[in-house]
């Protein structure tokens, strides 16, 4: 497989941004018919290497050879024309255009000079069927969840007849089923001789699909290895540059019993809350210090439940009580005033303010809660921001850098900090570890445990079932926009059992609700 000549060779690549050396003398090769994983911590330079290749940024130094020619693309369009098809880390589709239009934008099939719309829709449908996705291709992309949007972006990329396919964290918000589907197609394309560059923070995925691994650390090349010769522990060590005592197991710490937590009035209690088209009526109680996990497949209504708790969407029916008193959560301001925080899964559309600095992004929610007249004193801002830059190891540790210049994972950490700063009583985390490297992921999981031990309630959503199981005291299972089961996360509950509940929707054992 790798005895042929590389289709892509990057040699001695360097790229600096003001004050940041993102890549320094990096070599990278890609062979036809291989899946090559590019690994590294948040901010290691993975996305930058990809953007330098596809011409989003110019390079400072280095040579890129594609096929037999030296290339320097002026932008993604030109790169795609030359056979390098890319899905960038942040889904960038046109939200107002339909799914079909997004897939064929810039290369619409034509008939008699005009766009052949019926053909566009037909081919879009066929493509998505290949990815096992059955959606209305005429609906605007913005009406679908982030995961679906990610699938649409992937569909667009694989439809181009490419020699090189680049996927920058394509699986970050996908569930196991979709990942499986994507891998099937990746294998198929690989067998057709296409070279695939794949970035992810999920190690298990790397070992399932990648033939070779290139590791970056701090913008420099650590090495290139055949997957079979690099055991997982060694890979992690190469990525973070030290061994993994951070990843000590969390379960081993003693945690308060659910029974003790559930004494007294719950912090939030919702009953028969519903929103037409989003979630069927559900009831859920969350006590102080409790971590409640939401499990379910893509589109099962997890995010919708979270949004109702925060007032991001308005519920049609149902009652809410906060600390035993009837309350209303009709908009985010009300929710925040009750001590609820919400970290959205869609950091680009609903999270970061790209122009503002790291500092401003972090203090935004706290400042909004204080009102604009009572500006947080600069000294206090510095204290808070420094504290969380350290606690979450945000890099570069420069509070005055516009947040858009941070790597994806670091942006995610800034958002988390925004809510931690407000010291909420209930923190809703929708895919908080999306795009975060393994070291930081363990840190964040530890943080969730610490916070809940300190009395904060957490509603935790993750596509990774293991993560939900590890952190939650109890798990609410979603299926087809319905909450089908409440499970107490004791010794009898494991991934298989949750999967079974998700699949069948039956509540074999009713737990304390």
């Amino acid at each position: 497989m790798t005895d042929s000549r590389p289709v892509l060779t990057m040699t001695g690549i360097s790229k600096s941004f003001p004050g940041v050396r993102a890549l320094h003398d990096v070599d990278f090769r890609l062979f036809p018919g291989e899946v090559h994983a590019l690994m590294g911590e948040n901010g290691a330079g993975k996305s930058t290497l990809i953007k330098v290749l596809t011409g989003v940024y110019g390079i400072d130094e280095g040579v890129i050879i594609l096929g037999d020619e030296q290339v320097a693309f002026s932008g993604p369009m030109q790169a795609a024309g030359a056979g390098v098809s890319t899905v960038y880390q942040e889904v960038n589709l046109c939200p107002n255009l339909s799914v079909a239009e997004n897939i064929f934008i810039g290369r619409e099939p034509r008939r008699f000079g005009a766009v052949h719309w019926a053909e566009v829709r037909r081919r879009a449908r066929a493509l998505l069927t290949r990815l096992d996705l059955d959606i209305d291709v005429t609906a605007p992309v913005a009406s679908y969840s982030l995961a679906v949007q990610q699938m649409v972006a992937i569909a667009r990329a694989i439809d181009v007849r490419a020699q090189v396919l680049i996927l920058d964290e394509p699986t970050s918000s996908l569930d196991a089923g979709e990942v499986e589907q994507l891998f099937r197609i990746m294998r198929q394309l690989r067998d057709e001789g296409i070279a695939i560059l794949f970035v992810t923070h999920f190690l298990d995925q790397v070992y399932r699909i990648a033939d070779r691994i290139t590791v970056l650390r701090n913008g420099t090349l650590v090495g290139e290895y055949p997957t079979a010769e690099l055991p997982q522990l060694a890979l992690v060590e190469k990525m973070i540059g030290k061994d993994l005592d951070v990843l000590e197991r969390i379960e081993e710490q003693p945690r308060p019993e659910l029974a003790t937590l559930e004494e007294g009035t719950p912090f939030v209690e919702v009953s028969q809350l519903s929103r037409r088209g989003a979630v069927a009526p559900f009831s859920l109680t969350i006590h102080a210090g409790e971590v409640v996990g939401l499990a379910g497949l893509l589109g099962s209504g997890r995010t919708e439940v979270a949004r109702l708790f925060f007032g991001a969407d308005r519920a049609d029916h149902g009652d809410v009580a906060v600390s035993g008193e009837p309350a209303s959560l009709r908009n985010p301001v009300q929710a925040i005033n009750q001590g609820i925080g919400f970290c959205s899964e869609n950091r680009r559309a609903e999270g970061i303010i790209p122009d503002l600095t790291v500092r401003e992004n972090m203090i935004l929610a706290m400042q909004a809660a204080r009102g604009w007249l009572r500006r947080i004193p600069r000294r206090r801002q510095d204290e808070l921001v420094d504290k969380y830059i350290k606690a979450l190891s945000i890099r570069p540790a420069n509070p005055d850098m516009p947040v858009r210049n941070l790597s994806g994972g670091n942006q995610q950490k800034v958002l988390l900090a925004r809510w931690l700063i407000t010291e909420p009583r209930l923190l809703i985390l929708d895919e908080p570890t999306r795009g975060i490297d393994i070291g930081a992921k363990a840190e964040i999981q530890k943080l969730v445990v610490q916070l809940s031990d300190g009395g904060m309630a957490v509603l935790f959503i993750s596509a990774e079932l293991e993560e939900v199981l590890r952190l939650s005291h109890k798990i609410a299972v979603m299926r087809d926009r319905e909450m089908v089961a409440h499970l107490v996360n004791d010794d009898t509950v494991d991934a298989d059992r949750v999967m079974q509940t998700i699949a069948t929707g039956t509540q074999r054992e009713e737990a304390n609700q």
Binding site: S16, F17, P18, G19, V20, R21, S47, K51, G55, V56, Y57, G58, D60, S74, G75, P76, M77, Y88, Q89, E90, N92, F310, A312, P332, V333, I336, F342, S344, R348, A349, E350, G351, I352, I353, P354, D355, L356, E360, L364, A365, Q367, A368, A369, R370, W372, L373, R374, R375, I376, P402, R404, N405, L406, S407, G408, Q411, R418
Partner: protein, 357 residues
């Protein structure tokens, strides 16, 4: 890289470098053309001269542009400011013209308060259309841009209202501490807005709403209120500008007062470095932008360029300023860097096609 070299780069990279450079260049060109251009004389304890005139005449534009800056920062635009100038000027002049004693200070203040009140209502109307009903700002304010001219005509009954009021005239032509009063009014407004946005968190919140409205809402910002507020502020600024414009000529012309000022104001904002897409805003840049536009207008008149060519001339200068400000343009012609250069004001991410993170 040598220290001096580095300092030079930092200077050139500064946000306000190019607007200042253009302004200086224009003043220099004028001085070469007419050596007496920069001369300032003292007469009756007041300062006179072309530079003073430029400052005085730019005052209304500065006011309108300051309000416009906030509106644009939220991602909106306010096309109705010219009409609001005309309406507020007309109301004030009408009230004054009907008063028994046009020089009564209290009466003039009543007139101003009334006109300002109406302007605030008009601003609130814009604000409601945009923030509550959700109409696109350009359409929402277009309504008042067109209808407002008619309203001004109705108030003046199609006539030009002429007044003879000392206190009112002073708004446009009066002096204070040897300088025209209008300069102090514009300066006062600028300081007030700067204090309100930068001493409090309002500025950041406005920028946040303009940068990403949905994210701001989810962070607990009442985006609607902020958007509403900036249109009201913009209308208030326009009203004061309207007073100045009508006071300058002691008459209110519903058709001519504040005509096309919205376009000049938008230009001033853009020259000042605030993006039409919303987000970060720069008040000092806006003021410089307004001064550039007024200097341009004045020099065109001073050089006896015919009005037809004058507009063309203006367009050329504006294009030039916008070009040197544009990151893409700078990247193309200014890229000769090595190592880690000092941070230029705009991020290099926009150098090419935008693909976020």
């Amino acid at each position: 890289m040598s220290d001096a070299n580095l300092r030079l780069r930092t200077l050139v990279g500064h946000r306000l470098f190019w607007p200042v450079a253009v302004l200086v260049a224009m003043l220099a060109a004028n001085t070469i053309y007419r050596p007496g251009f920069l001369a300032i004389e003292v007469n009756n304890g007041h300062l006179y001269g072309t530079p003073i005139d430029i400052l005085r005449l730019s005052a209304p534009l500065i006011l309108v542009a300051l309000g416009m800056t906030l509106v644009i920062s939220t991602g909106g635009i306010d096309l109705s400011v010219g009409s609001i100038c005309a309406i507020s000027g007309a109301i004030a002049c009408l009230y004054i013209s009907e008063a028994p004693d046009q020089n009564n200070l209290g009466m003039v203040f009543t007139a101003l308060a009334m006109a300002l009140g109406v302007a605030l209502v008009l601003g609130a109307w814009n604000g409601v259309l945009v923030s509550i009903i959700g109409i696109q700002p350009i359409i929402a304010t277009l309504i008042l841009m067109v209808a407002g001219r008619g309203l001004a005509q109705l108030i003046t009954e199609g006539q030009i209202i002429t007044i003879n009021s000392g206190p009112y005239r002073a708004i446009g032509l009066g002096h204070f501490l040897t300088l025209p009063l209008a300069i102090f009014i514009a300066l006062g407004a600028a300081l007030l807005i700067a204090a309100f946005t930068r001493r409090t968190a309002l500025g950041m919140i406005v920028e946040s709403v303009g940068g990403n409205r949905e994210a701001s809402r989810l962070a607990g910002i009442r985006s609607g209120r902020v958007v509403f507020l900036v249109y009201v502020v913009s209308a208030a600024c326009a009203a004061i500008a309207g007073f100045m414009i009508t006071a300058n000529v002691s008459s209110a012309d519903g058709n001519a007062a504040g005509l096309w000022v919205e376009l000049d104001a938008i230009l001033a904002v853009v020259i000042g470095g605030t993006s039409l897409a919303g987000g970060r805003f720069y008040l000092s840049g806006t003021i410089l932008g307004a001064l550039i536009i007024q200097t341009l207008t004045t020099s065109v008149y001073a050089m006896n360029i015919s009005p037809q060519t004058a507009l063309l001339f203006k367009a050329v200068v504006v294009i030039a300023v916008c070009l040197i400000q544009a990151p893409a343009f700078r990247a193309k012609f200014g890229r000769r860097r090595r190592g880690t250069p000092p941070p230029p004001a705009p991020s290099p991410q926009r150098q090419k096609e935008e693909v976020p993170a």
